[in-house]
Symmetry: C2
Subunit: 256 residues, 2 copies
């Protein structure tokens, strides 16, 4: 659902089998809904995959930051709002607000995208490229108060976990699904942590794509109490390459 203010508003309900074991909307479902809303919103304004240039260009997710005070629970309704916040050289910012049924903000997210020329695999200059419709859809003055992306550095020499990409992990572009990386990060921690702690902030910085059959190694270290830096490297034994850097911050429920 889009409106005249160029903000897309998409209503959802937390359905059975979309929750984690604590009864809250799972991060995997939320993350994929954010990407879906981006796709619907950009398609609506004529700068998405449905355009004539569909075959020539593709939006690629570069960064994703999600900061939530509260995750909706089974049966609860929520709304995802998204808009185009900024266009600057090779990147476009797409912020989000997640609202409860009563309009209260549950959290914000910020995604950063590049538009790739499929032929050259290089990003295009959005300041040159953006068409009038896309420029018109810019909503520069709407707040999205997430902490800006950080510089994530991990020194750990031994991986905490490894995972080999398989068929069900691969998205329509032939790459490891962006949100599956987030699930791998969440899975570094024991299940019990999620009963006592909420994930207050996650940041994902996407560096290189992972293909089916490639093995990911996850290096993790606590950089501050409750805050962990994670580096996901592919082909760690042969040609190490950073696929994703992540940063995740837990807060105990008791403190709130």
């Amino acid at each position: 659902m889009e409106s005249d203010d160029y903000v897309g508003r998409y209503g959802f309900e937390v359905e059975p089998f979309q929750e984690d074991y604590t009864g809250r909307l799972s991060w995997g479902v939320l993350g994929n809904l954010l990407l879906r809303c981006a796709s619907l919103h950009s398609a609506h304004y004529g700068f998405g995959y449905n355009r004539a240039e569909e075959d020539a260009y593709a939006w690629v997710l570069s960064r994703l930051v999600i900061e939530l005070d509260e995750m909706p629970r089974t049966g609860e309704q929520f709304t995802v709002e998204t808009w185009v916040g900024r266009i600057y050289r090779l990147f476009s910012d797409r912020p989000y607000a997640v609202r409860a049924a009563d309009g209260r903000v549950l959290g914000y997210a910020l995604s950063v995208w590049a538009l790739i020329d499929k032929a050259t695999r290089r990003p295009v200059d959005l300041e040159q490229m953006a068409d009038p419709e896309f420029r018109r859809s810019l909503v520069g003055d709407r707040p999205c108060p997430v902490q800006p992306p950080r510089r994530i550095r991990v020194k750990a020499a031994a991986p905490t976990a490894t995972y080999t990409a398989r068929y069900t992990d691969i998205d329509i572009n032939g790459h490891f699904n962006s949100i599956r990386y987030l699930e791998l990060v969440l899975n570094l921690f024991p299940k019990e942590r999620y009963a006592t702690h909420r994930v207050a902030r996650v940041e994902m910085a996407y560096s290189s794509e992972t293909y089916c059959g490639e093995t990911l190694s996850l290096y993790c270290e606590e950089v501050a109490p409750g805050q962990f830096a994670v580096e996901i490297r592919k082909n760690a034994d042969t040609q190490p390459q950073v696929a994703v850097r992540a940063d995740i911050t837990f807060k105990p429920y008791e403190q709130e």
Copy 2:
């Protein structure tokens, strides 16, 4: 959406990020939608999780058979129909039909459920237990022409794959998600197979629950051309126990 004929009808559209890499609705999303429809339909007729006995009983999935001629693609609409087909001693059959937007049947599914007394962890006799409303909702004469469940036997001594259950795999009951097992089965095969073959039939027979931290070992063998039997055992090294038996049949797209 339910109607007077006791058949639940739920409309969906294949949304971006719900597809596999070939652009078809992913089996993981379809499987969880089938479970969601079961939950919505049984709640509507007063024999689901929303009842007063919610705390005393839980439906447990015993078997799931899905036979599809065709999987809907991104942007296509489809409808899941489900109804209560049979009640017999400890089990209740819940059939499904999956229809394209034009009403054409894309496939059928059959799920078999037991109602567990949470205190004793034992199934109750549904012929004794079922209330009038549940009996009234029985639709015995509606066709669901799936091949009946098979006896699945695997002799393979060495596992093809192993997987350790983590936080994001665990459902609200604290168990490994029923459909994640299906994803593990699909992931036994190279991605390329799904470009040339469709999954014509899958059968899952659930034996014992898997908990977070337990390791699953998958034993697989081809029992007929394109048909594979899979046994998923937990704690294979210490106290082997069958979690799930599965049977999956591929058909080449070319033959159709």
